[in-house]
């Protein structure tokens, strides 16, 4: 697979495939930069600290059973740990189509967010727990 136009991202939240209700995705892989600067150099020096990966998803709101709100609200309300899987395309996992998985928790959720005439969408930032995202190609 060469350059990619996002048309077919695969997004599974707590076992439910919500790809057809997501129109934007951002995986943020983040590590704290712990400063170790000393007198021995002319600039700052850092080492990697704790991971704090997040995933930001924009959902097209749907309050039908087993859809967006039915999946997300209980996760928020029950403070459930759940898994997320994201792939560039819905094809089988491989070197050209890796899957990123993480155990997550949902601390913020806005079921309704929009102005008159807008498509009801909700942007959700989801924090990963412990190991953050892991990448697999098989």
């Amino acid at each position: 697979m060469g350059k990619l136009v996002l048309k077919d991202c695969y997004i599974v939240v707590n076992g439910t495939n919500l790809s057809d209700h997501v129109d934007a995705v951002t995986l943020d892989l983040v590590k704290d930069g712990v400063e170790t600067t000393s007198f021995s150099g002319g600039g700052r020096e850092r080492v990697a600290g704790l991971k704090d990966d997040t995933v930001e998803l924009t959902f097209q709101s749907d309050f039908a059973p087993a859809s967006v709100d039915a999946v997300l609200y209980p996760l928020y309300d029950n403070e459930t740990e759940f898994t997320i899987e994201v792939r560039p395309t819905s094809s089988a996992v491989g070197t050209a189509n890796p899957k990123y998985t993480a155990t997550c928790v949902l601390f913020e959720y806005a079921p309704l967010d929009g102005k008159v005439g807008d498509l009801a969408e909700t942007k959700v930032k989801i924090n990963t727990q412990r190991t953050g995202f892991t990448k697999a190609t098989a």
Binding site: G15, A66, E81
Partner: protein, 104 residues
Amino acid sequence: MTKNAIPAAVKRVEDIVEREYEVLSKKFVHGKQGDKIKLALTDVQELSLLQGGIIKKAETSTEDDAKKVATEVETDEKAAVKQVTTPAQADNAATAEKESTPNG
């Protein structure tokens, strides 16, 4: 029947018992709608999936459990009867067996 599990989150809790559920959602990746699947879920994971209408507890599982318990009770009763046999009873049984066999 598909045997599957929600990964990562469950790994930390080793003694979660698998239970049978029926898939209600078309979008559930661990089984097709209408399938009965086994999942090992924590209480809150189960609650979240039940509340979302993603899965429901399989009705047959209760009947199966009842049958299982009934079988176990029956087996226990049989074992208990065996244990009650006294040495005297055992001797009598052996004598009776000896008498019934022809000389040889």
